[in-house]
């Protein structure tokens, strides 16, 4: 098996995604709360995996290599995060973009979780939806870069992929929440 896939940190991130997905799909009486926790959980996995890719980025810039992620094979970080042409957007590393983007998503979900009946809750739900959707083209762009543009492409950066899945999971959670709001099941006692 590819060395990168057995990384304990990667396994922790995969577990985080699995738990977030379970919370999103599980059926119980407190479905709205569960979906809000699920969106928060996806966003926290996203921000931590983005931070991890930024740590790998810094290690690679300063040391030329890192023990934090494999540099060989199809699934690896070296050729993706270590590629000076593609590892940034306008000079800002993608990891920083991820941290900032998931910060916004965490804030919106946290506000909704703490007070889902506030006056602004409907607006914030819409902001969360549009913010999640806005990130998807960047995910598509990064996947295209990994598969076609980086040195000796294709490569798949596992920690970047965790962040991509976290964003997709977040958007799906918010979609379910919007649905619940639209059909009048926003409050727990409404089903």
């Amino acid at each position: 098996m590819n060395e990168a896939l057995t990384d304990p940190i990667l396994i922790i991130f995969i577990l985080g995604l699995a738990i977030s997905s379970y919370l999103m799909l599980a059926n119980n009486e407190k479905k709205t709360s569960m979906l809000l926790i699920s969106s928060l959980s996806f966003a926290i996995v996203g921000i931590t995996s983005s931070a991890y890719t930024y740590i790998i980025h810094n290690k690679m810039v300063v040391q030329g290599s890192t023990t934090f992620c494999s540099s060989e094979g199809l699934v690896q970080c070296g050729s993706v995060i270590g590629d000076p042409q593609w590892n940034n957007l306008f000079g800002v590393p993608w990891g920083i973009f991820g941290i900032l983007s998931f910060s916004i998503l965490i804030f919106l979900s946290l506000c909704l979780y703490l007070d889902r009946h506030a006056k602004w809750s409907e607006d914030y739900l819409n902001y969360a939806w549009w913010a999640g959707i806005a990130g998807l083209p960047f995910v598509a762009l990064l996947i295209i870069i990994e598969l076609t543009q980086v040195e000796d492409a294709p490569h798949i950066c596992p920690f970047c992929t965790i962040a991509h899945f976290a964003l997709i999971g977040y958007a799906v959670s918010i979609y379910f929440l919007k649905n619940r709001r639209n059909i009048g099941k926003w409050s727990e006692n409404e089903g």
Binding site: V61, G91, L110
Partner: protein, 229 residues
Amino acid sequence: MARRRKTLVQKGRDDDVRIIAGFILGSILTVIMLLIVIIAPPATIGPSEGELAPDFSADAYNGANWENYKLSDTFDYEWEEGGDGEWILVQFIDTDCPYCWSEGETMSDLYSQWSGNVEFITITVELSINNHDSDRAEVEAFRDKTNYGTEENDGDGCNSGRNNCINRPGTIHNWNYIEGSSSIMKDWEITGTPFLALLQPDGYVAWNQYENQGEEIESAMQRLVGGSE
């Protein structure tokens, strides 16, 4: 009597939870930033002395063909001051720039003296000036001193089309000529050519032409790299 169903409109909390959410997010970000700074602090990257040279990956002409070249592949990350290692002389040129044309000879002289312990690279860029268009054929001819253009000032050839590239001052440049781009120019803060920078073997900028207007590159290399061959 029909019972009228009551619609329950739930009110939000009295306090504004957005402030609490902001504090929680601030705490999360603080922990993340602290971890990043402790585990892998970001390097200061730039062309100024003491900064890590901006990395790039681009096609390079080595005298035979064009191949990918990544600057950081030449870095020796284990290098320590005073230790052995190959320094890197980075030159930015525009094949149509008159000063770059005449610096061809200086570069040949430097190469003949320091090629043993300095890696030479030339990054070719196009300045936004009339008659400063250059294609790969012109870059190859500039490097190899081969027939390209005329000796007439007709816009055809090197040095703003004033010269045939075969007559460039100096000898053939036996090092990589890299195809520059606007992003490389931006990262290196290039405002004009020629520009020279000397990097330590570990990739940190040891000498930047803009910061040493009074010192020639030859004396800088003598001072920093040491005796020539």
